[in-house]
């Protein structure tokens, strides 16, 4: 069965992913997707990686 995974990058924020079942991180660990849309951390500062926890807001613009 083919399925579509939709990826929506948010400026200065996370990447929203729709339609995924599992996210595999860089260490190979599997993170099951439990909500209709998930936000993947791209600033690498989240305390809930791979998920965004809003921490990117604390990063100063010049460090981004």
């Amino acid at each position: 069965m083919s399925r579509t995974v939709q990826v929506q990058p948010c400026p200065r924020g996370p990447v929203l992913v729709r339609g995924a079942e599992v996210v595999v991180d860089e260490d190979g660990a599997q993170h099951p997707v439990t909500r209709p849309v998930v936000a993947l951390c791209v600033c690498r500062r989240s305390s809930r990686k791979p998920w965004c926890d809003g921490t990117h807001k604390a990063i100063r613009d010049d460090l981004r």
Binding site: G13, L16, P36, V37, R48, D53, K57
Partner: protein
């Protein structure tokens, strides 16, 4: 022509209704001054709105559309909206002058907001009593979390509608009744020994707590305010993820980790929701009708204003209690 002489119980009732000396709805019933901090006015509004949500055990549900009730509701809503427009005018004008992409503008306004640091206090310093006080005050809005915004759905079209439905599906449990956010909040109350019943603390919470809940109904139940409702919702979602992480940490510090589920859920959920609400709901709304930008920003400003007032109220209430305790310890 005058009213006819009744000839039975039915015509008597009609004549009675038509000849009743109804007090004209007059704005005089409202006290002067701020309606945001007028507990009587906010409780009246909350009670009138509640007829649209879950009602009261001892009230006939048909009164939901009673003309007197709606008349009084509109009177208070009028004052409420006027005051909100007045106190947010500067912030709205500044934001509109700044301009930029809608999603960035909305999220930027929230990020730049220098509110009182209620969540930081809850994380580091709050006593169990203060934490419970916070949970109790917030219960009037959180036990019907996202219900007011459900009224926005039939008033939106296209992408904005799809985005709101997608966001609310998550608020309403994403297909799993055990994940319904308003019920997660009830579980938080129960886990801290508070009463999880809907409306249990209505007689105790402050005017500002009621106003924070009422503003969502004001925007949800008046179609002309749909864009303000979208802006308010976006700001509400965008000021939740980081504070939720702090409150969860505060609950854990107080040995109340089992009560933190609601807040843990909102760390991740609202990191998603804020993007959807700001970019897909507000963004699409303004793209379809650019004249709505001012209303979206007005909604954002209302959320920030009320959140700041409600936060400051709790912090100063606790400061006074702490000061009193310190004085009595010293004596």
């Amino acid at each position: 022509m005058h009213l006819p002489e009744p000839c039975g119980p039915v015509s008597a009732r009609v004549v009675e209704i038509l000849s009743a000396q109804r007090a004209p709805m007059s704005a005089d019933i409202l006290a002067g001054g701020s309606v945001l901090t007028d507990r009587d006015a906010q409780l009246a509004l909350w009670t009138a709105y509640e007829m649209v949500y879950r009602g009261f055990d001892d009230v006939d549900p048909c009164l939901e559309w009673d003309a007197d009730l709606i008349g009084l509701r509109r009177l208070i809503e009028d004052r409420f909206e006027c005051e909100l427009r007045a106190v947010t005018a500067d912030r709205v004008a500044e934001a509109l002058a700044r301009g930029g992409e809608v999603g960035d503008l909305v999220l930027g306004l929230v990020a730049d907001d220098e509110g009182p640091h209620l969540s930081s206090y809850l994380r580091r310093d709050a006593t169990t009593d203060q934490m419970c006080d916070y949970l109790r005050e917030r219960s009037v809005q959180q036990l019907k979390e996202s219900d007011p915004q459900a009224f926005l759905l039939p008033r939106l079209q296209g992408r904005a509608k799809v985005a709101l439905a997608e966001l609310q599906y998550d608020e309403f449990g994403a297909g799993d009744p055990s994940r319904l956010h308003q019920d997660l909040y009830a579980r938080t109350l129960r886990a801290t020994g508070l009463d999880p019943a809907y409306g249990a603390y209505i007689s105790e919470v402050s005017a500002l707590s009621l106003a924070s809940a009422n503003v969502m109904s004001l925007f949800g139940l008046n179609r002309r305010l749909v864009a303000a409702g979208a802006g308010h919702f976006a700001a509400f979602e965008a000021s939740s993820s980081v504070p939720s992480r702090r409150v969860a940490a505060g609950l854990a510090r107080l040995g109340l980790a089992p009560a933190a589920d609601y807040f843990e859920e909102h760390v991740e959920a609202d990191a998603v929701h804020e993007q959807i609400a700001a970019r897909d709901i507000c963004g699409s709304l303004v793209r379809d009708d650019p004249s709505l930008l001012g209303e979206v920003v007005f909604g954002v400003a209302c959320a920030l204003h009320l959140d700041a007032l409600a936060g400051a109220e709790l912090l100063s209430r606790w400061e006074r209690i702490d000061a009193r305790a310190a004085r009595s310890e010293a004596s």
